[in-house]
Symmetry: C2
Subunit: 294 residues, 2 copies
């Protein structure tokens, strides 16, 4: 690795932003309000954790760069659609996201719903446009991660859980779907783009890595919701507790949650050992996910 | 064609229902409320016009049956998701669909939104699971038809148009997206499954056919909204007029709308002439779409 992590991050983020920018119709494309709102929801903010995972996983097994940009863009579009729908009054009723008013606050509920619907469709249009033998399987992988046994399923469990108690196993089951499935799909899509042989060789290590960072991501989110402040987070802090949502902190306590995050961090790093130097970026991303302040 | 249209319809509908039934997780799959509601939204009702178009178009150019069942199922899942979202209080606020209470009436707004989101994801999972070289392009085709320049875009235009006047050209532009895009994609997906050579040969005729029946479908819908009754339609009649939505009947009047439907019917039949006997099912479906009473 001659390139520093910082330089790789900057270059990769620029590629992701460019891919997202190109993937969305111009803001004056008819119907303009919809396209303007889609661009607002997807561009100019966001940590881009998922596309970075796609690129790092893909580069660790030699996948072609253009396919990784498209796959990373597709995963991020799914993530962005889920945020728009999550923020709606019938869901979390959030008015602030990434430091800006949420889509439904600016454009109303009905258009916000269509923004999410159209972003999801666009994700699959971008992914389907990748010219690789593995494309169809990548589509099925992302769709499964986004659907009723993945992200949308996790949100349905979350919905049913508000105000009630939840055991740690149930909480993990919810988060494996709600955030874990898409993070795992990000790692998988990157590696799948390298072709079946490279993917099958790397899959056991990458799945363990992805599951560990997937849970760590959520545990850290819950810790930050307690310890962070709205200015750094770009969203309302303390919101989960206010809404009586079960979190790792409410179930395990703050100290035990921090121990869990550290242990998952170790597990993610250990999983990458078979990859040697090729796993460097994925290791650095695990550090970023666990040690982030927002 | 040794088989009668009625027999073909019955056999094709049975194949579609079976594909839909298999495509959706069992109602007790965790999270059960989501899966129960997804099955309610997609199974046991619906005219299945889109999957029938997929199968008729595919069979006209010799596409493999299993791929047509999966593609038809995918298109119908997209259609079903759009109905669930369309019925939400922030959109059309409809309480009756296909003669039954709408999803949000039974399960609430938040879960209804997730049902739509998850049905869209499932559509692409099913489509991505087709084992054909054309699969990736079929995914991109369906996604484009569902997205911001297709169905979701048409709904955004519809949203902005309520209560305002609309010229015939603008009304057509809206319906080409809102209903036309998915009907066109149905015809295209069927033919694409036959491979690039068969698809390219048939495309000019099929696109003209699809555009004609796409518009005809909407004109007939608007006529039925005025002339039909709730019992036959399975939804509230006269609703468009009540909501001051622009319709072909409100823009052109009832007689001119009927002339337009007849003329589009003729155009659809004429477009199929190059296909000869292979176009029989598509011709019969055009008849069904224009002459239906609900």
């Amino acid at each position: 690795m001659s390139q520093s992590f910082g330089d790789w991050m900057a270059a990769s983020l620029a590629r992701v932003e460019h891919a997202l920018e190109s993937a969305l119709p111009a803001a004056d494309t008819h119907p303009a309000a919809l396209h303007e709102a889609m661009r607002y929801a997807a561009l100019g903010a966001g940590k881009r954790v998922r596309p970075l995972l796609v690129m790092a996983a893909g580069e660790s097994v030699g996948a072609p760069g253009q396919a990784l940009e498209a796959a990373g863009c597709a995963v991020e579009l799914i993530h962005c659609y889920s945020l728009v729908h999550d923020d709606l009054p019938c869901m979390d009723d959030d008015v602030l996201r990434r430091g800006r008013p949420t889509v439904h606050v600016v454009w109303g509920e009905a258009l916000a719903m269509l923004v999410g619907d159209a972003l999801q469709a666009r994700a699959f249009e971008v992914l389907g446009g990748i010219d690789l033998p593995a494309t169809a399987r990548m589509v099925a992988e992302l769709a499964a991660a986004a659907g009723s046994t993945g992200m949308a399923g996790g949100q349905a469990i979350d919905l049913a859980a508000v105000g009630g108690p939840m055991a740690q196993a149930a909480l993990e089951g919810m988060h494996r779907r709600k955030t874990g499935a898409l993070l795992r799909a990000s790692v998988r899509l990157g590696a799948m783009a390298a072709g079946p042989a490279a993917w099958q060789a790397a899959q056991p290590a990458l799945d363990v890595y992805a599951d560990a960072i997937g849970l760590a991501f959520q545990v850290v989110d819950d810790i930050l919701d307690v310890e962070g402040d709205a200015a750094t987070l770009g969203k309302t802090a303390g919101k989960d507790a206010d809404q009586e949502k079960p979190t790792y902190v409410s179930v395990l306590g703050l100290d035990e949650s921090k121990r869990m995050a550290a242990s998952l961090h170790d597990a993610a790093r250990a999983a990458l050992e078979p990859l040697g130097a090729a796993g460097t970026r994925l290791r650095e991303l695990a550090d970023l996910i666990v040690l982030r302040r927002s």
